[in-house]
Symmetry: C2
Subunit: 441 residues, 2 copies
């Protein structure tokens, strides 16, 4: 669950009304998740704007006209996604032009770019692509480096309209590199981060607030604080919407918080636990291996998004059967017979085996019952054992998470990664003898 | 990309207007994906309804009142999610009651259920939970088996309002088990599947259409056909909105299509490739192991959602380093030196090693450059080698996918699973000598 206390204060930074219109029957039929809302909402939030409304409608021209008219009347900035492609279903341009009272004009420059793009891929442009070469008569074109349909930009009636192509790999760079700077130039969002974000791990929201209260108390109303909790991590966002604190002052308060937090501090910004732990491994020239049962590849896949992960990530094993634990990780058969696969002993043996087999300095292991099936009286569904192997020993702990399988797995992976991160932070600061919690084996 | 041709025809089945209002700043700030749209949109689609609009707004009472008033005026059914919890931010109930002109009344029965729930978890109910015990004076309560806040149901002005709690594990069973049957009873959606869905794999949309055209042509307008393509799979949805074909007739046409499709047919409904391949393995009492580099756990994790997967899935290895390929999978060092890690030879060696190490009958391996970094002149980013080990030999093929990393990985995993599925279908039908494409090693 995400904490409630995350909205910027009403007077926070930019009080312009933004609306996002996402087009597509595939969204309404549940065939595709609405990633545009997630991406654009987060980008606007970082620049001091709380998106006021997102509307998803069908591809029908009538629906587009009605919705755009309504949003255009009440918003300062309207962003649309999708419907700019070459097929006959892509009617957004025409529908919006009608509401704006603008003509669409043919732009030969766009055709040239599309033709060159086709040529680079060794293909010839088909005529339906010419549809994408129309822009609003009083408007501009946002070049698309990753696809054929350019974005469109209109300033009219003291408002801004931004139309973006649907594919995420085209939309996202266009938004970050072109739209954000243009909006910032017009004073419609901040040209910098709206807040300093401190990411913490392993500490609940109220414990975090208690810990930082002495610092916050000194600044009263001048400092705005928002918490955002998500599955084992809590972000603290510091800002001064009233402007009574300078950016440098907010940054200095953040630095104080970081010092106070110690190893509960994970990073500034929004890096993942795997990224932070990976950076620590790289800095210490250490390597990691993983072994998992219930989470079946989820822990390993945390590292696939990180460029150059092969520098520190040796690999991992997904072991469903006892046979595979013995074969891949040298877990002794007698250990599995005596303690079972869901046990602290097996978790530790898996971590040790992964480290030895893969020649890694560190290893993480996860085993347990994530549900919905499985589970015993002693270890009901939601019971997870994690283990950490380090150059100076191996430890394991028992955890229990309520909720559906995906939640249990996500929290187990986060708990394992955070354990490694803390260990690496301690090693880095020279205090490797710190007391650990949990049952040692 | 999802195909455009997926919307039910305008006269399809149920022409009621549904709107979905999803509440929460966390959605607008991009902190949480809007999974409610995906789930509810898909459920309605299955029962013959195309959701007309989804609006996401902030938690502010004014915004809720304005949006609910607008949606209530034009829709036949309005569904809201979120804002029913015990905290002071949860204002949805009051805002909606004001628009409906209804009072909220205290329902002691709800309190009793909440108290029992707390007691079962060994906790005492706090007073703020009493907020959840209010229902509309002219309305009903939808019991919540998985949380404290019940759903609310109102029939008024010839329309229906459904208010659902935000947590997905509470909302989803409530919707499937209570809301769908209630709406069907009122004739607002179908009490059965709106279409027969045939899922295919490995065939493009146009090739599929060509193949099935002779069957479709015989039924003309009476049969409605919709295609939905998603990364290596295409769904064909058959229905008869006009009612000129009976359900039995549509099912019989679907059976004809399945026969015509041969091994391109994957399943009826919406099972995943891993589920279908897993069922075939289970039926043939065979086991599978996997080995992966670039996809780093994605292939293995396809099996984690399947209950009882340990019956047929032995496990997997994620090998980032050459060292790990040698250690876990016995890939010969000389092979890696001669051919490199991204090669048909290594893919085959990894599959063989996984099968032998894990004692599995079948094995899949994936290696390649998914991007954004890596790649060579010979094997640019997007190059993937997949290999399949079977009891009668090992094969590998080279593939190339354009697009961002996540797309390349997803398509590689689907291609590998489909290869296995086809092999198992052939074994099942006794034709194991079918010609295979791709470079053999």
């Amino acid at each position: 669950m995400v904490s409630e206390n995350i909205a910027p204060a009403p007077d926070n930074v930019v009080s312009k009304r933004y609306e996002l219109i996402t087009l597509g029957d595939e969204l309404l039929l549940g065939l595709t998740a609405n990633g545009h809302l997630t991406f654009i909402g987060a980008q606007l939030g970082r620049h001091g704007v709380l998106l006021q409304r997102n509307v998803t409608i069908t591809d029908e021209a009538d629906a587009i006209v009605a919705q755009f008219r309504e949003s255009w009347a009440r918003a300062d900035v309207v962003i649309t996604t999708g419907g700019l492609g070459p097929t006959c279903d892509d009617r957004t341009r025409e529908a919006v032009a009608a509401v704006l009272g603008q003509q669409l004009v043919f732009e030969p420059g766009i055709v040239k770019v599309i033709e060159e793009r086709f040529a680079r891929h060794g293909r010839k442009m088909t005529d339906n692509n010419l549809k994408q070469a129309f822009r609003f008569e009083h408007g501009e074109v946002l070049p698309n480096a990753n696809g054929t349909a350019p974005g469109l930009w209109v300033e009219q009636d003291g408002k801004v309209l931004v139309m973006l192509p649907g594919p995420p790999n085209e939309l996202q760079p266009m938004f970050s590199e072109q739209v954000v700077p243009r909006l910032a130039k017009l004073g419609l969002l901040l040209d910098r981060e709206a807040y300093v974000q401190i990411r913490t791990a392993g500490l609940g929201e109220s414990a975090l607030e208690m810990k930082l209260q002495p610092i916050f108390a000194r600044h009263g109303d001048a400092l705005s604080i928002a918490f955002c909790a998500h599955q084992g991590q809590v972000d603290v966002r510091l800002s001064s919407p009233s402007g009574r604190l300078s950016i440098a002052e907010v940054e200095s308060i953040a630095a104080e918080c970081v010092k106070m937090l110690g190893e509960d501090f994970m990073c500034y910004g929004a890096d993942s636990l795997a990224k932070v732990a990976g950076d620590l491994l790289r800095a210490q020239e250490r390597t990691l291996a993983v072994a998992e049962t219930a989470t079946g590849g989820l822990l390993a896949s945390e590292f696939t998004g990180i460029c150059g992960a092969s520098k520190f990530f040796a690999g991992g094993c997904v072991c469903y059967s006892n046979e595979s634990k013995m074969q891949l990780l040298d877990v002794p058969e007698c250990l599995l017979e005596q303690h079972g696969a869901v046990s602290a002993e097996n978790a530790a043996a898996m971590a040790l085996g992964a480290a030895e087999r893969l020649g890694a300095d560190y290893a993480l292991a996860i085993t347990g019952f994530a549900g919905p099936c499985g589970g015993t009286n002693e270890n009901p569904v939601g019971t997870i054992y994690i283990a950490l192997h380090t150059p100076h020993g191996v430890w394991s702990k028992k955890l229990h998470y309520p909720g559906p399988r995906a939640t249990v797995n996500r929290r187990a992976v986060n708990a394992a990664l955070d354990w490694l991160r803390r260990e690496l932070v301690r090693t880095h600061s020279g205090s490797t003898t710190a007391v650990r919690t949990g049952g040692c084996t």
